[in-house]
């Protein structure tokens, strides 16, 4: 299939970019590793969890989810850069499948996520993170994280194509991802929040993702989930629903936007 081949060529372009400017890869892994260390040693001591193995067991899933959530920003700004340089016009004038460029980019950003997650996992292990659920479930959790990042990539594509300026893209992406990652159970229990915020946090896709990962890593404690709501009882199902929804909404929107790009 030519459409798939075309997309893979675009993905390969991204890998080549990384090879030419390796700093990008280095810094996109240093940052999450730094988060692991900061949270583990700065806040870790002051958060009482009652969790065997300590705060780091709860922290790691949170940081994994936060990191893949930032794929949105990476995809958006990468694409905005291409727009600015006029590269999108060139790609759109080639006899290739119209979605190759955006599919290729989402795949490329997922590949980058694999590397980043692997490095973070190792860093976590070094500071005492020990998942107890067995290899299969751990692998499933990582797959799950990759899917989540992939789905958010499509939101990034939409933002990247919509904004007129690369700087706006950065700001919009952070405006979307920051509240999502902090208004959640990722770093602290939601039970400490004001009541209305607790509901928001519970239904936040980041929270359901974090809770689902914690389950898959073998944690008993549903850290942060307030009693009885559907998302806190069924985080895996709810996360799948969210990912599906994101894809169903943003894939067609982005493809359409790309076809009319800069019209």
């Amino acid at each position: 299939m030519n459409a798939i081949k075309d997309s893979l060529i675009i993905t390969k372009r991204q890998l080549l970019q990384l090879a030419r400017v390796p700093e990008v890869l280095i810094f996109s892994t240093i940052q999450p590793v730094m988060f692991v260390l900061l949270f583990r040693y700065v806040f870790g001591g002051s958060i009482e969890t009652g969790q065997p193995g300590g705060y780091v067991q709860l922290l790691m899933p949170g940081i994994f989810v936060q990191t893949v959530a930032f794929t949105l920003a990476a995809t958006a700004s990468g694409l905005a850069e291409d727009m600015k340089k006029g590269l999108i016009d060139r790609f759109r004038s080639l006899p290739i499948s119209r979605s190759a460029l955006i599919v290729g980019r989402t795949l490329g950003d997922s590949l980058l996520n694999i590397v980043v997650l692997a490095v973070m996992g190792m860093a976590g292990y070094l500071v005492g993170w020990r998942p107890t659920s067995g290899l299969l479930k751990v692998a499933l959790a990582f797959l799950f994280l990759l899917f989540f990042g992939y789905a958010l990539s499509w939101v990034g594509i939409y933002i990247g194509l919509s904004a007129r300026d690369a700087r706006v893209v950065q700001n919009v992406s952070f405006l979307v991802t920051f509240p999502l990652t902090f208004l959640s159970n990722a770093f602290a229990p939601t039970t400490g929040m004001p009541r209305p915020l607790q509901y928001v946090a519970e239904w936040n896709p980041v929270s359901t993702m974090v809770a689902a990962c914690r389950q898959l890593f073998g944690l008993e404690n549903q850290f942060g989930a307030t009693a009885g709501s559907f998302p806190s009882e069924n985080p895996l199902t709810m996360s799948f629903i969210y990912m599906g929804l994101i894809m169903v909404v943003f894939v067609p929107l982005s493809v359409k936007k790309y076809k009319n790009a800069s019209n």
């Binding site: 030519n2 081949k5 075309d6 060529i9 390969k12 372009r13 080549l16 970019q17 030419r20 400017v21 340089k85 006029g86 590269l87 016009d89 060139r90 790609f91 759109r92 004038s93 080639l94 006899p95 290739i96 190759a100 800069s262 019209n263």
Partner: protein, 319 residues
């Protein structure tokens, strides 16, 4: 056969507030060069983007190589090459990387893509910088690489949007050489430019556009004739203006015009320096002293003056 045809293209931006094209029509005969000449904001890029399937017009129709650009854009893309107004290549990658990637996207296999990239780099004198990131290229090198990328699979029809804007005189000469070679190779070319000189050098046929409309069409000779070839200009003291107007009109056989602020009198002339000498002699015998005098070749401004009666409004573009 007409390889490129556009009929009555209309395109508005910002929900109808900006009219970029206002019933523009053009055609390009197979194997020839059409130059679209116009000032900033005339609608050159919009025209190229519609023909290259990047933009759909609000109304009107267009075809390239006999294929309708609106109905079958994917087929059009197989026969065209486009080099836009701003070089569109991946800056972090090397020239070689870029060309191989585009070759692969044209569905050449790996070996063929590499071979073609090497050929093009050679042809455009970029072999030495092939393995350097584009970031380190000069403006002229970028433009050449961008052009090379649009030639990977020899296109039937090539669109070049202001290929020499921003290049120094040497870069411009080099680019002209490259384009002339392409044309010898038989490509049908549509080229936009702001320079009459460039159209003159490269084009078989020229259209002049302004505010999204064609305001003149012809060969460069025909257009120059329309503008009146050379202009004679003479600057005199205030008191001598009426007499000088008379002399210049008589010698040139055309109604002379007066720029009051500059006290400059001018008229198109066909006999060049002969006319100049004649005017000076007549002025001398009338005892009029010329403060400044000269012959000017027609510029794009003159084309505009003579065609529209107003100077080309230069719109500042921010990019």
């Amino acid at each position: 056969m007409k390889t490129v045809i556009a009929e009555n293209l209309v395109k508005t931006y910002n929900k109808g507030k900006v009219k970029a094209l206002d019933g523009l029509s053009l055609d390009v005969e197979e194997g020839t060069v059409l130059s679209v000449l116009g000032p900033n904001g005339a609608g050159k890029t919009t025209t190229v983007r519609i023909l290259a399937t990047l933009l759909s017009p609000d109304s009107g129709r267009a075809s390239v190589g006999g294929i309708d650009v609106i109905a079958h854009p994917e087929k059009v893309r197989e026969v065209i090459g486009l080099s836009g107004q701003y070089a569109a290549v991946d800056e972090t990658l090397t020239g070689w990387d870029n060309l191989v990637m585009f070759g692969r996207l044209y569905h050449l296999n790996k070996n063929a893509a590499v071979k073609r990239a090497d050929e093009l780099l050679e042809q455009f004198s970029l072999t030495e910088s092939a393995k350097r990131p584009i970031k380190t290229y000069s403006g002229g090198m970028r433009r050449r690489l961008d052009l090379a990328a649009s030639l990977i699979v020899k296109p039937k029809v090539l669109f070049l949007d202001e290929p020499t804007t921003g290049l120094d005189p040497r870069g411009r000469q080099e680019m002209w050489g490259v384009i002339e070679d392409l044309v010898k190779g038989g490509v049908t070319l549509l080229l936009t430019t702001q320079y009459l000189e460039e159209a003159d050098q490269l084009a078989d046929d020229i259209i002049v556009i302004d505010h999204g409309k064609v305001i003149a069409h012809g060969t460069s000779d025909a257009l120059k004739k329309e503008v009146g070839g050379e202009r004679l200009e003479v600057v005199v003291e205030q008191s001598s203006i009426p007499k000088t107007l008379e002399i210049v009109s008589r010698v040139s056989g055309n109604q002379a015009t007066l720029d009051e602020g500059l006290r400059r009198i001018s008229a198109p002339v066909s006999t060049g320096s002969m006319a100049l000498m004649e005017v000076l002699r007549s002025m001398d015998s009338e005892g009029i002293h010329a403060l400044d005098v000269g012959l000017k070749r027609p510029s794009l401004d003159d084309v505009f003056m003579s065609l529209t009666g107003h100077a080309a409004e230069v719109e500042e573009v921010t990019k």
